[in-house]
């Protein structure tokens, strides 16, 4: 092994070196973070496991993640341990080294959300066990490109096919799962842990084996940043044509592609659509404009009151009439989930008020917290077991 040891030595030192363990989840579920930085003046951590702090902005007050100081020992090792054990969850955090927010150099696990990359860790137990990779059969996750003649583009899509798909002759139902503004076709499998949630719920017998199709909801994009001919661009939320009707108009191209490509059940009873924030908005308008297409609709912290802004009038016109029409066809499930402190809470309450006034049947889940991925993972794991039963 002499030659490969030299190789490993070179590789290890190429950009790395010895690193302290960070994060370390202790037996009491407190978590210790470490950074070796003898020359740094100040090291802090910010993350969604720390108590939030109120921040006032011109848009109003909101809860920002807290910040904590690490302390330095005489060897230059900085350390912070949470005061209490942390509840089961997937957590996001960054280190702040002399004022610069970075990912934890000891932790190779990181996720991009729009233009920010955060380190992650997962504390298992309770619902968070659904977010873990467990010793269960695993579905396949594919990045596949489809032609969208309506959009005039070839577009990238993430597709989850359940364990056994390749060898069975069976046809499967399909959940179309849409991301929020600034997101893309990777959001649900990265931040949303969708493949793990599906693997685990299916293995537990709580969900039917199904295909989950996660398209890119930004109709001007071919694919997520870095996966198009535009190269390694800086991700932005300021994309054109996100909520102007064109994504909804082009959605039949996605369905056509899926139904021509995978072994799927091609009827209303075996199609579901759900999305978070902008994706909930998309799900609402795609379903009410195509009332014979989906028997299951899920609105996760949905931007339900958005109006079109100079795009395709016909997609957003006559919302109430279209909702009435959808419910006249008796969808098997119309599901709404929202956090109590979500800035879209009031809009969702107005939608519920309208549904109540018409005696339309829907299911509703209200959770703590706001417009955050923690809630969207909860909603997905609550929604999926209700499908195709």
């Amino acid at each position: 092994m002499a030659t490969l040891t030299v190789c490993s030595f070179a590789q290890q030192n190429l950009f790395g070196g010895q690193a302290p363990k960070s994060p370390e989840v202790n037996v009491d579920n407190t978590v210790t973070f470490r950074l070796m930085a003898p020359e740094a003046q100040k090291v802090q951590i910010t993350g969604d496991f720390l108590p939030t702090q109120k921040v006032n902005t011109s848009y109003g007050e909101y809860d920002a993640p807290g910040v904590a100081d690490l302390t330095k020992d005489d060897k230059g090792l900085w350390t912070f341990t949470t005061k209490e054990g942390i509840k089961p969850e997937l957590y996001l955090y960054n280190m702040i080294i002399d004022g610069v927010k970075v990912t934890d150099p000891s932790n190779v696990y990181a996720i991009r959300d729009i233009a920010n990359t955060t380190s992650i860790f997962l504390i298992g137990g309770d619902r968070a066990d659904l977010y873990k990779v467990n010793k269960v059969p695993h579905g396949t996750v594919s990045k596949i490109w489809y032609n969208s003649p309506t959009a005039g583009l070839t577009r990238r899509c993430t597709v989850y096919t359940p364990a056994g798909y390749e060898t069975s002759k069976q046809k499967y139902p399909v959940l179309y799962l849409l991301h929020g503004i600034g997101g893309d076709e990777q959001a649900w499998t990265e931040l949303g842990r969708a493949a793990q949630i599906l693997d685990n719920l299916i293995a537990q017998g709580k969900a039917k084996p199904m295909i989950v199709v996660m398209p890119n909801g930004n109709i001007s994009q071919e694919a997520c940043p870095g996966e198009t001919s535009q190269g390694f661009t800086v991700p932005t939320m300021a994309l054109p044509k996100t909520m102007d009707g064109y994504f909804e108009q082009a959605f039949p191209d996605v369905i056509k592609f899926v139904e021509n490509t995978y072994r799927v059940q091609k009827d209303k009873a075996h199609r579901a659509i759900a999305g978070l924030s902008m994706g909930g908005f998309h799900s609402l308008f795609i379903s009410i404009n195509n009332p014979d297409t989906f028997d299951y609709v899920g609105l996760f912290s949905a931007a339900v009151d958005q109006q079109q802004k100079g795009g395709l009038d016909e997609i957003y016109a006559n919302r109430e009439q279209k909702i009435d029409n959808l419910f006249a066809k008796h969808p098997k499930l119309f599901w709404i989930g929202i956090g109590k402190s979500d800035f879209l809470y009031k809009n969702n309450a107005e939608l519920r008020h309208y549904l109540d006034s018409k005696n339309f049947k829907y299911e509703y889940l209200e959770t703590e917290g706001g417009h955050i991925w923690r809630n969207w993972r909860i909603y997905l794991s609550e929604f999926v077991p209700k499908l195709f039963k």
Copy 2:
């Protein structure tokens, strides 16, 4: 858009903030790096585009990537611009903030190599255009799990199917493409840009449409770090059972899975195997132990002289006799690529000397540089056009 603007504000500030553009490729292909860090005392950059520096170790001298200082302006913005334009290539780098090596916080594009994460950028042109996502038809990249009875594990594999695979009725040839020590089933698509290289070569008519199967060569692992029930472990090169014969012994499980799952041509003329470093070692021993299986063998900076260390004797025994046997069956291509300063150069020269002494026909490419991904991308893009012709 008022509500979503608040949302975006909150999301943007959750872990981020304003960031300067970094890296920026200038018109003359010089590259500027920037970091806003008013409180930092020293900011440096290290990367494989900087002149290397000699480092002496107990293993001997090797070339380490250079380090350069950024300079600070009166607003706290640190900047470094390369002195000269940089040649087309995919480059890796890190920032060093007050002595701590981190990814560039302005750059969301990063790749993990074993336990180190580096920021990346790509300068197009020449061969590096093959590494870019171009406006060409794109293949599908899937993470799929297969059963390996020989290993007693369900294992994860990356599979590239060429554009058109889903809609054609055609059967395809298969390239099995293996990673090096410390790598995993993600290495070739991440650091190796294998999907882009295949997309581009196929679109240019230079390579036949083919399936590329990239298994995990660490037979004790189910999958790469973070994708198993062991959770978010720290990646290590010190894995058990990497070069002891068990991966080679279990390899028929991979072939069986592929040939039962995909539309493939199931004969020697339509199977190729290649790998880098440890993967080249695996490719050599898998091919010579199964001389009727592959018509194409590629050794990229291969660890060709490794001997088994207490594993399966029969895999590594009688190497020369098995090589003779392989060549007696007239493989269509036996291809060797190595860098002039690779620490495995001498071992490869010895192998070539043996092949020459027997008058066995092989192709050979010698490049500048050593045991680095830059070379493995070159070798893949040279090897693939020679397959299945």
